[in-house]
């Protein structure tokens, strides 16, 4: 089968197309013929060795990036109970770990998958794995977003952000969505109650009494976010690299803080995402679709840091 192997950590030139053996499956796994792969910022950060996860994966040979897939089950181990050959499935495979999704076939634990809802395409399903799980786990696992809460979502037009906005609305919270002015209409259409143009408005000077901040910008944005939170509020940060001063600022306000949230593959969470997608309560927005032989372009698009919604690669 064709796969994209990461020859060494570094630039896009290290993404090498190779013919390798199809993966073997164990008794709890299924083999999936991959139809769509979604690309996430962590793909780039592992490629260029800026994510802590890169160190854990360094010893794999071959090292194959990618975690989000949608596709069809073509083989199943004898202890697999939830899926059968022919089922259409999607999910985030083996995160935090070696996903091996940049390939024509991938093996996956059945715990990491859900049936793809019939009303959405493989492209849409692949787009709704890691980013949607991150948003959900931020609001339900790492923090607790409640219906009476006011939530500030940074980068709300991005991959995680646009899912977070929809999930927060579904929970019933009052959503303040931060993005550039060009994405104002996009986030308001997704249901944001209030928009903040981060390029012209200093949110830390205009907002206060926020219950929950989803922080995905990094650097000084963490402490600015702390400033707008209520005492005992919640901050969940998605980026690595928090500082001791960040911790102190959050502690001084007695926040429920998660300084570096890590999304994880989990059966009940992906099934919950599937149910939201199936009922139309959650809709992925896909701004770019590339072919499998254009993986480098997909990486460059994510690297801009200005992608609206998701980037998907189709096989």
């Amino acid at each position: 089968m064709k796969a994209i192997v990461l020859k060494r950590f570094g630039g896009i030139e290290n993404l090498i197309y190779k013919d390798i053996e199809k993966p073997e499956i164990n008794e709890n796994e299924v083999l999936i013929k991959v139809i769509a792969i979604s690309i996430n910022p962590v793909d780039i950060k592992v490629r260029n060795r800026t994510a802590p996860l890169a160190e854990d994966l360094a010893h794999f040979d071959p090292l194959i990036l990618g975690w989000d897939i949608s596709g069809e089950v073509v083989d199943a181990g004898n202890k697999v109970t939830r899926f059968r050959i022919g089922d259409e499935v999607f999910g985030m495979i083996n995160f935090v770990g070696h996903g091996r999704a940049y390939a024509e076939y991938v093996s996956a634990s059945e715990e990491h998958l859900a049936l793809k809802p019939k009303n959405i395409s493989h492209t849409e399903a692949a787009a709704s794995a890691m980013a949607a799980l991150t948003a959900w786990q931020a609001f339900d696992r790492y923090g607790k977003l409640r219906s009476a809460d006011k939530v500030l979502i940074h980068a709300s037009a991005g991959g995680v952000g646009h899912f977070a906005l929809q999930i927060a609305k579904h929970i019933g919270a009052y959503v303040i969505a931060s993005s550039s002015a060009s994405n104002r209409d996009f986030v308001l259409e997704l249901g944001a109650d209030q928009h903040i143009d981060y390029q012209t408005i200093r949110f830390e000077q205009t907002l206060e009494d926020i219950d929950f901040v989803l922080e995905s910008v990094g650097a000084e944005n963490f402490q600015k976010s702390v400033r707008v939170l209520k005492p005992f509020g919640t901050i969940v940060a998605l980026n690595s690299g928090y500082t001791i001063d960040d911790e102190r600022s959050a502690q001084a306000k007695h926040l429920h803080a998660c300084y570096f949230m890590s999304v994880y593959s989990n059966s009940s969470d992906i099934q919950y995402i599937a149910s939201l997608l199936g009922t139309g309560l959650l809709k992925p927005h896909i701004s770019h679709v590339f072919d499998f032989d254009e993986m480098a372009k997909a990486h460059i698009q994510i690297q801009t840091g200005r992608t609206v919604g998701k980037v998907v690669v189709k096989l």
């Binding site: 786990q137 696992r141 790492y142 923090g143 607790k144 409640r146 009476a148 809460d149 219950d211 005992f232 919640t234 001791i244 911790e247 502690q251 007695h254 926040l255 429920h256 803080a257 998660c258 300084y259 989990n266 009940s268």
Partner: protein
């Protein structure tokens, strides 16, 4: 926002419902035959698979002399093999002053002692109602003196002693910080208090709003204090009730963790406030979606908390 029972983390709630310990009728037993709880817990623990001690961990029980020469106090020590001069955490298990054992924390301390290179010394202190206050605190204080004096023998650093506890164990730990401050024999660097009961008055707003919360009710709290303080409950002796201290000056820095859906949370916050008024640095955090003793139930919330604890301890130790 109003705290309600519906806000309990669903995965935590599921894990609690599934746990065999959930079958024990703690509230009624606390009132009618408190020591029965020990038996029921032991019966359940005997049915559990024994935990394997990690390869790099030393776990041993030692007995040290109590101030009362006729008795010894058992300490259960967890430490990574071959390391010297480790910071020492003197720990007090929970259990309403009445039940609980150091062993119940093996599943946490086997990992924690390795993940942060910390020696954990868990005290098998005397329990009420047979041994009301000050028995538990005295055992703990004797243990504190012993680890300070013989730190070298166990590979600990006598200048780096932390104290901690869960629930009623945290009450005892806080009492000891006050006693140790006044006696000036040993310096404690930090107090780490998990969901502590801090007052026998039970009149805080969380105690009233969350009187029937899962895992900790107001009624259970009433009986716990009655067994611990007995006829002195109307005028508790010095050190017995941490919030009644005359002075909070010169106590160690503190980490206080309270749970959003625990009736005890306001007492924990009040203690934090008193310490802060006395200019003591306090890290106070409230775990959203959590109930009393949530860290005993396997679910993402408690796994996340474990990771958070490692960060907190690393920060305490690097200060």
């Amino acid at each position: 926002m109003e705290s309600t029972i519906e806000n309990v983390d669903p995965a935590l709630w599921k894990a609690i419902a599934k746990s065999p310990y959930h079958q024990i009728d703690y509230e009624n037993l606390l009132e009618n035959s408190p020591t029965e709880i020990r038996k029921e817990e032991i019966n359940l623990s005997l049915k559990e698979e024994p935990l394997k001690i990690p390869e790099h961990l030393d776990v041993k029980d030692i007995s040290v002399q109590s101030a009362d020469k006729s008795r010894k106090i058992r300490l259960r020590i967890y430490r990574s093999k071959g390391k010297q001069d480790l910071p020492m955490l003197l720990y007090f298990h929970g259990g309403a002053f009445i039940y609980g054992t150091p062993e119940q924390y093996d599943f946490i301390f086997y990992r924690l002692a390795l993940d942060i290179d910390l020696m954990i010394i868990s005290v098998d202190y005397r329990l009420a109602p047979e041994h009301p206050f000050p028995a538990g605190m005295e055992d703990g204080y004797d243990a504190l003196l012993w680890i300070s004096k013989y730190a070298d023998q166990i590979g600990g650093d006598k200048d780096n002693i932390l104290i901690g506890g869960s629930s009623a164990g945290a009450t005892i730990a806080a009492s000891i910080t006050q006693l140790a401050r006044d006696r000036k024999e040993v310096e404690i660097r930090h107090q780490y208090l998990l969901y502590p009961p801090m007052s026998q008055l039970l009149q805080t707003s969380s105690m009233i709003k969350l009187a029937n919360a899962p895992m900790q009710t107001k009624r259970a709290a009433e009986w716990m204090w009655k067994h611990y303080l007995q006829h002195k409950i109307t005028q508790p002796p010095k050190y017995a009730v941490p919030l009644l201290a005359e002075s909070f000056e010169n106590l160690p820095d503190a980490t206080i963790i309270v749970c959003e859906l625990d009736p005890l949370k306001d007492e924990g916050k009040m203690y934090a406030q008193e310490l802060q008024k006395a200019n003591i640095p306090v890290h106070l955090a409230e775990i959203k979606g959590a109930v009393h003793a949530f860290d005993f139930f396997s679910c993402p919330l408690s796994h996340n908390f474990y990771a958070q604890q490692i960060q907190i301890f690393k920060q305490i130790l690097n200060q």
